[in-house]
């Protein structure tokens, strides 16, 4: 890993006006969440959206803007660069998750409705979920350019949902096809409720690790063209 890349990625995000506004919104949602009986209700949704918005820019746009060309003339290991970018972005997202969790915890302390264990589980689940989202976007970004990764990410999600619904209406489709589609959906885009579930955590972490390894393998083979689009 490269400390400079991590630090610079982190700095560029946290000093962005858009990020600061989202952080404030997440803190407000954290306070609103404290009114709900279930912990970690509102802010995790915004944190996952932030993961998509920041995660899609990790590598894809750098191919098109010509940034990568400049970086790779330095003796930087490609995998190390990619993983450092992922770490920097994850730190930014996790800071937002911590902000939401801290705001809700403080508000619940005030309400006297704090259940520290559920808050912790909610936070850990959101952190693992955003890790998978960022890893998938990194993998898609390493094989495409510009922001095609986010288009494929949402396109695949919609195609899986619509495809499964259409196939379910037909009686001739074998059950294993539907099961396979459901398994792909569960592995790539799992629902992550703020409840304790070690199996789901392992699914999120292992799939994220596989996606990052594939992203490194793809990025290592990738041609980095001169100039921008």
């Amino acid at each position: 890993m490269n400390a400079v890349v991590i630090r610079e990625t982190f700095r560029r995000h946290v000093t962005h006006a858009g990020y600061i506004s989202v952080l404030v919104l997440i803190a407000i949602l954290g306070i609103v969440s404290a009114q709900s009986i279930r912990p970690a209700t509102f802010w995790p949704g915004l944190v996952t959206l932030l993961a998509v918005v920041t995660g899609c820019g990790i590598i894809g746009p750098e191919f098109s803007s010509g940034t990568l060309q400049l970086i790779l003339v330095k003796p930087v290991n490609r995998s190390s660069y990619l993983l450092s970018r992922v770490t920097g972005v994850l730190l930014v997202i996790w800071l937002a998750a911590l902000t939401g969790c801290a705001a809700e915890t403080l508000a619940r302390l005030f309400n006297k409705s704090l259940v520290l264990e559920s808050m912790g589980i909610g936070l850990v689940n959101v952190m693992a979920e955003t890790l998978l989202i960022v890893s998938l976007l990194t993998l898609l970004g390493s094989i495409t350019r510009a922001y095609f990764n986010v288009a494929i990410f949402y396109g695949l999600q919609i195609a899986l949902a619509v495809g499964a619904a259409v196939l379910r209406m037909s009686r001739e489709v074998p059950a294993f096809v539907l099961e396979a589609l459901a398994a792909i959906d569960r592995n790539l885009f799992p629902d992550v409720p703020p409840l304790p579930n070690p199996g789901l955590l392992l699914l999120l972490l292992s799939n994220a690790a596989v996606a990052l390894l594939l992203a490194c393998l793809a990025f290592n083979q990738r041609e980095v063209p001169y100039g921008a689009d």
């Binding site: 060309q69 790779l72 003339v73 003796p75 930087v76 290991n77 490609r78 995998s79 190390s80 993983l83 070690p198 199996g199 392992l202 699914l203 972490l205 292992s206 690790a209 596989v210 990052l212 390894l213 490194c216 393998l217 290592n220 083979q221 990738r222 041609e223 980095v224 063209p225 001169y226």
Partner: protein, 33 residues
């Protein structure tokens, strides 16, 4: 043609990444997939 910039030594994958993937997949299989 060789890809532009970055030499072969820049295109290695840290073995720890393989180890992390193997450990996590093993844990997942052990837990029941």
């Amino acid at each position: 043609m060789e890809p532009t910039s970055s030499s072969r030594s820049q295109r290695t994958i840290p073995p720890i990444l393989y180890a992390i993937v193997a450990v996590l997949l093993a844990a997942r299989v052990w837990y029941g997939w």
